[in-house]
């Protein structure tokens, strides 16, 4: 079985671009707080979602809807509506994280396939088995904390499909539960769907360098020509012992294109490309590179697929992250 290529789409144009570039499956979200990439001008309304599903199905591909934030206290209506609208649009599966949303989806739309979002942070057998047995999830998106060997061990034991991240931003491995962002902005990433809400991000040019700020906090300072990082608290440079360093995470992107054979051998079902907040140019570039690499792997070809993805990688740097745990 070939590795399934699961690709991001923040807009209908990006969805078409992903499919045209060779995605097997595209995931997207509604234009509100119910998905973890809730940025202005991004995402799909109900009509666009149905049109996207129609386009994908016409090309024999699938669409998943991410409803993967956590409902606000006393206000579950947007999350219920998102599940109902996804089902009505003919979505192939929903990607969920919250227990209550999982419960609602299972009761109201038992026939709608459910995947467990990375936001649920289920990274061990006991946790995944709970979601599998209680909510009949068919696939788990594994957090970016596991080595290839650990992924293989999980695959052998959990009895459901696994999806792992293959390319994109690397967070400090708390997967959507960033308390620093909440502390700085007063907005919760888990309920609002943005770890650095655009409304709180600003840039200031002081002549020699550019300062990125989240709320009242300066996160970083970039000299002319120095690669920039996302304006998130985890990618901030903080001064300790008189030196400014990346304490949590450096501006670097995960890229597993060179270890696809290892991931396939580990029994992984699907590869996820991160980046619904990125442009359709990014989608086209990353998806077509991974399509070539997967096809080469299937042919048993030894020819290396030229990796040209550094230009779209954060900080122009790449890592295999936890898959190899090279820092140990």
């Amino acid at each position: 079985m070939s590795l399934e290529l699961v690709c991001p789409a923040g807009t209908p144009a990006a969805l078409r671009a992903a499919i045209d570039a060779g995605a097997d499956t595209v995931y997207c979200g509604f234009r509100d707080c119910t998905n973890a990439r809730n940025y202005p001008g991004l995402n799909f309304d109900v009509r666009e979602m149905a049109e996207g599903v129609e386009y994908a199905h016409r090309h024999g591909r699938k669409v998943l809807a991410a409803v993967n934030t956590f409902p606000r206290a006393g206000d579950p209506a947007p999350w219920h509506a998102a599940i109902d609208n996804a089902a009505a649009a003919g979505i192939d599966a929903v990607i969920l994280a919250d227990l209550g949303v999982l419960d609602y989806a299972q009761r109201r739309h038992p026939e709608l396939r459910r995947h467990l979002s990375v936001q649920a942070s289920a990274s061990n057998e006991l946790s995944i088995a709970f979601y599998r047995d209680r909510f009949d999830i068919k696939r788990v998106v594994l957090p970016r904390v596991l080595s290839v060997e650990q992924v293989a061990a999980l695959v052998r034991r959990i009895g459901i499909e696994t999806e792992v991240f293959a390319f994109g931003s690397v967070g400090p491995m708390s997967e959507g539960r960033c308390f620093l962002s909440s502390y700085i902005t007063g907005l919760s990433p888990t309920t609002e769907g943005a770890c650095a809400p655009a409304s709180h991000v600003s840039y200031r040019d002081d002549g020699a360098s550019t300062l990125s700020r989240l709320g009242d906090v300066t996160l970083n300072r970039f000299r002319q020509g120095e690669p920039a990082a996302y304006p998130t608290p985890c990618k901030g440079r903080y001064v300790t012992h008189g030196r400014a360093t990346y304490l949590f995470e450096e501006p670097v992107a995960l890229n597993a294109i060179d270890i696809l054979g290892d991931l396939k051998a580990a029994g992984v079902t699907a590869l996820k490309i991160e980046g619904r907040q990125r442009s359709r140019a990014y989608v086209t570039e990353v998806v077509s590179s991974f399509r070539k690499a997967i096809d080469a792997l299937e042919r048993g070809s030894n020819e290396a697929v030229a990796n040209k993805l550094a230009s779209v990688a954060e900080g122009q740097r790449e890592t295999t992250g936890a898959y190899r745990k090279g820092w140990r």
């Binding site: 144009a13 001008g41 120095e226 442009s279 359709r280 140019a281 230009s311 954060e314």
Partner: protein, 223 residues
């Protein structure tokens, strides 16, 4: 990173402001007609104003949107700084962004574009434009009304000539800089070197302590 387009910036630089202002107004009307979803999506956003400043042009542009409308106009020298946000970059980078040919985050990471002011405004504009499949050559050809098709043909021929020139320049550039092509292993190599330097520093610190202790002992006569 992105194609340079010296002909376009040189040509636009020579157009007098009043003529360019009328062209911008006409182009906006045409884009409203050809891309109704673009207007609809801009209209759904909260009100915002952003200035677009090509660094290789003597002109600046303004996009105002929200509350059901979208408008683009040429700015004059007397116009005040943007109330909300500003994006600066080469004309080629800005057109590539508009057409969705290049990733804005990549341009931001490499600092090829500069964003100042409200990120909410610049992100909203970027995302809204990225929803549409815009090809500037076709939009400009549409300015010619009944002569749109010949204009499009001329545009395509020009593109081919410019494309060929670009490829030749890019090949020459690549040859000149073959030694500088960054290796994929560079990051890993840096990590290894960093770890090695750290280990050596620790070793050196331990040796220093040991030496100081030995020197101290020698001074006091202790064993």
């Amino acid at each position: 990173m992105h194609d340079s387009h010296p002909l376009a910036s040189a040509a636009l630089s020579m157009v007098p402001s009043p003529v360019l202002a009328r062209m911008v107004a006409l182009l906006t009307r045409i884009m409203r007609r050809r891309h109704p979803h673009l207007v609809e999506n801009f209209g759904r956003l909260d009100h915002g104003i952003i200035h677009i400043e090509p660094t290789d042009l003597p002109h600046r542009f303004e996009i105002e949107y929200g509350a059901g409308q979208m408008d683009v106009r040429l700015l004059t020298e007397d116009d005040p700084p943007p109330p909300d946000a500003r994006i600066r970059g080469s004309l080629a980078a800005l057109i590539a962004l508009l057409e969705g040919r290049i990733d804005s985050d990549a341009l931001f990471f490499t600092r090829d574009i500069e964003i100042t002011g409200s990120t909410e405004v610049s992100v909203a504009v970027r995302n809204t434009l990225d929803r549409e499949e815009i090809v500037m050559r076709d939009e400009i050809a549409a300015l010619f009304g009944p002569f749109e098709r010949p204009a499009r043909r001329i545009g395509r021929r020009l593109d081919r000539v410019i494309g060929l020139a670009r490829t030749q320049v890019a090949t020459l550039h690549a040859k000149l800089h073959e030694a500088n092509v960054p290796s994929r292993d560079l990051a890993a190599e840096c990590d290894e070197l960093r770890a090695e330097v750290k280990a050596l520093k620790t070793r050196l610190a331990k040796m220093d302590v040991r030496q100081m202790r030995t020197a101290g002992n020698a001074a006091t006569g202790a064993p």
